[in-house]
């Protein structure tokens, strides 16, 4: 008997719960819960959360639900969420994935909001264009950056060799190697960049080529052979690190780069990463452009949108999501909280407001990106969808040459074919 009553009570209790949640649903919905997702580290999370708090304070009733991950782990999770139809309202987008997501309708076109909720009044035109696919605006740049070499200034001082300048070509690095190695205790002048896709792109652009044009490769086997040969030469002359050392840096994660491991005095990186690099390097760091292909050649660099906010077209609160994005890139308080951690702010009034308040490293990054001069060329078109896979294959191919499993000639021809195959594959 008591058992029956207990069960009845249980049933009544649970139906009450169901009823309560049914009533509670709409009541809760009046509080707007905005979901955000991005890749990055703790420093980025702290800054992003600070902006969310500012926004929530200015918009009573809005709360935030966020997740973030390292770059490589971010995409599987985001892809799974998008496939499941439960992705965040606003999520971070990369130049490399922009076309893929836009073509599949996984990010919302924002043109109709410009000037009506999305303020792009003094937003850099090149950064606006960087977020466009087929003429439609799909993504709002969170900062401009450029590729750059991280430079361990202490190592150059200790070796009594001048640090690289903006005029240095690969030949200049080579010319300084002997003097550097004489006193460097095994540290080499530079990381091995032969498998570094941005390094290759920069070098190709200086030679008037491109990594991709119209979704196809913008170079041929001879270019790649020459690239691999140049690095074989630098390797033989002990300008760059050994293949074994370079292979320790499997994913270009900051803590395994050659400069962080103390194997090289300069490493290939991005300008906005100086803050993160300095956090794990004891020696004071500076930055300089990627080496010139030959003396006086320029145009390799460009102001790349380092990352974007995109809005989920299935978001239940699309207008609010757009409003948040606009706040993120325009509000001065938000700008102060974000600094240049995601790159140089694209809205002029924000840039002007924060410039005097930046710390030394942020100043270096800001100055570098603002003064590219003859190093700067046009923003290349958004890379094709399979660009990430081609980049992975370049690393493997470069290792084959470095470890002597292939010659520059064979590797150049093989990579040209493999890259074309990857791009052609569905």
């Amino acid at each position: 008997m008591t058992f029956n009553i207990g069960r009845r009570q249980f049933l009544m209790g649970s139906s009450a719960l169901v009823a309560a949640s049914a009533i509670g649903g709409p009541a809760l919905a009046q509080d707007k819960r905005m979901r955000l997702a991005w890749w990055g580290g703790q420093a980025r999370a702290d800054r992003t959360d600070a902006v969310s708090k500012l926004y929530a304070a200015a918009h009573p009733g809005v709360t935030f639900d966020t997740w973030w991950n390292a770059f490589n782990d971010y995409w599987p999770k985001l892809g799974t969420e998008v496939a499941g139809g439960n992705a965040a309202d606003v999520y971070q987008m990369d130049y490399r994935y922009l076309v893929e997501y836009a073509n599949r309708g996984a990010i919302a076109p924002l043109d109709e909001y410009v000037g009506k909720g999305l303020d792009l009044g003094d937003f850099d035109q090149d950064q606006q264009d960087g977020g466009k696919v087929d003429g439609k605006l799909y993504a709002i740049s969170l900062g401009a950056n450029s590729v750059s070499m991280m430079v361990n200034t202490q190592a150059f001082k200790d070796a009594g060799v001048d640090a690289p300048t903006r005029d240095w070509s690969y030949d200049d690095y080579k010319a300084h190697a002997e003097a550097f190695n004489a006193k460097s205790n095994g540290m080499r002048l530079m990381a091995d960049g032969s498998g570094n896709e941005p390094g290759l792109e920069n070098w190709l652009r200086q030679r008037g080529k491109a990594l991709y044009t119209d979704g196809k490769i913008g170079w041929d086997a001879d270019d790649l052979t020459e690239w691999f040969k140049m690095w074989a030469d630098l390797r033989a002359a002990q300008v760059c690190v050994t293949p074994e050392d370079q292979a320790l840096d499997a994913t270009a994660a900051i803590d395994t780069t050659m400069i962080t491991l103390g194997k090289a005095a300069t490493s290939f990186a991005n300008s906005n990463q100086l803050i993160a690099f300095q956090a794990v390097n004891k020696a004071p760091l500076d930055m300089v452009n990627f080496p010139r292909a030959k003396a006086g050649s320029g145009g390799g660099h460009y102001r790349k949108p380092s990352q974007f906010w995109s809005v989920n077209p299935k978001s239940a609160m699309l207008a609010d999501a757009v409003d948040f994005v606009s706040f993120f890139v325009n509000d001065l308080g938000a700008g102060a909280a974000l600094g240049v951690e995601r790159g140089i702010p694209c809205a002029k009034h924000v840039r002007d407001a924060i410039a005097p308040t930046l710390d030394a490293q942020s100043q270096i990054a800001l100055n570098f990106v603002s003064n590219l001069g003859d190093l700067q060329g046009k923003l290349p078109p958004v890379p094709p969808a399979k660009a990430g896979e081609v980049s992975t294959q370049l690393t493997t191919k470069a290792q084959e040459v470095a470890f002597g499993a292939s010659t520059p000639e064979d590797a150049g021809a093989a990579f040209a074919k493999e890259a074309a195959d990857i791009l052609a594959r569905t």
């Binding site: 599987p76 496939a83 997501y101 293949p243 320790l248 994660a253 290792q399 084959e400």
Partner: protein, 317 residues
């Protein structure tokens, strides 16, 4: 109300009713409550195991990138795998190398330690625990990271070698040695087969050893003629489990190569390649096909082991 009548049906003894119950209600009253209790398991089994397996079989015949609907492509994923995918061939090669070397070495090591521990020494539980410890830590990220540090160019292993004047390579990042460091890592985690061997050794009747020692048999001979033959069922069990685990091995290669399988794809385990295709390049269809090929390979291996087992496994009967 519903709950009450349900309870009545459940609790009524079979045949305690005036009307002859229908077949369905007879079956229900005999087994129904049992199935009701099994229901959570059924939901889990069909929803979380059978469902995904069937779905992955379907997906293996499609192109599916997570963002758009799967597109039926027939057997072309499988065709590509066997005709036009050097990375598939490479990952198979790496995985077979890994299984062929790590499993026998690991089992031999596990058996040797089990024999050592089986001599009735004091403090056996402590030793057993210590030797088992690596297996507990086995698949963990921390150990793979530790391995990376140990076998790097300026790692502990090379510091040790340097005391003998040997300049070791960077084991982990040299394509000639990188796979071997992973094999070594697998062998080091010999704990669970060791425990099973130890249990097997305990079951060998002591009178056989007594008889052998009366006959004056050497220790070597005792091992080959008594211990090993009587232990073959355990060897059989261990080898099947370890082969399957070997094929499934993922974490160490993922951590040590940062998920790339490099240098020069020398640590591109099959599962790592599968993961790359699925989650780095978003080809879920192709990855599903890869998964089914792995399943078939493992099934063939296991089936082959069972077929040959009657020639070398001796059950004590």
């Amino acid at each position: 109300m519903t709950a009450r009548s349900l309870a009545d049906a459940n609790m009524a003894p079979a045949g305690g009713r005036a009307v002859v119950p229908s077949t369905w209600s007879r079956i229900w009253s005999a087994n129904g409550p049992g199935y009701l209790f099994l229901l959570p398991w059924f939901i889990g089994f069909f929803g979380l195991t059978v469902g995904p397996i069937v779905t992955s079989l379907y997906l293996s015949f499609t192109n599916f990138d997570l963002l758009t609907d799967p597109e039926w492509v027939g057997a072309s994923n499988y065709v590509r795998m066997f005709t036009a995918d050097p990375k598939f061939a490479q990952s198979m090669r790496v995985t077979f190398m890994f299984v062929i070397f790590s499993v026998p070495l690991k089992l031999a090591f596990a058996l040797a330690i089990a024999l050592l521990l089986n001599r009735g020494m004091r403090g056996l539980p402590i030793y057993r625990a210590i030797f088992y410890l690596p297996s507990l830590l086995g698949a963990s990220v921390a150990i793979a990271v530790l391995w990376r540090t140990l076998f790097a160019g300026d790692g502990v292993i090379n510091d040790f070698l340097a005391t003998f004047g040997i300049q070791g390579p960077s084991w982990i990042s040299n394509p000639r040695f990188s796979l071997w460091t992973l094999i070594l890592l697998a062998v080091w985690q010999f704990g669970s087969p060791m425990i099973i061997f130890l249990a097997g050794l305990r079951q060998i009747p002591q009178d056989m050893y007594e008889a052998a020692s009366l006959e004056g048999a050497s220790k070597w001979r005792v091992f080959w003629k008594i211990t090993l033959p009587l232990l073959t069922p355990v060897v059989f069990f261990n080898s099947i489990i370890q082969v399957i685990e070997g094929f499934k091995s993922f974490t160490p290669a993922f951590i040590i190569s940062g998920g790339t399988g490099n240098p020069i794809n020398s640590t591109l385990f099959y599962t790592l390649y599968l993961y790359q295709e699925a989650f780095a390049f978003f080809r879920m269809g192709y990855a599903s096909a890869l998964a089914w090929v792995l399943l078939i390979v493992v099934a063939l291996f296991t089936g082959f082991s069972f077929l040959t087992s009657r020639f070398w496994v001796h059950y004590d009967e």
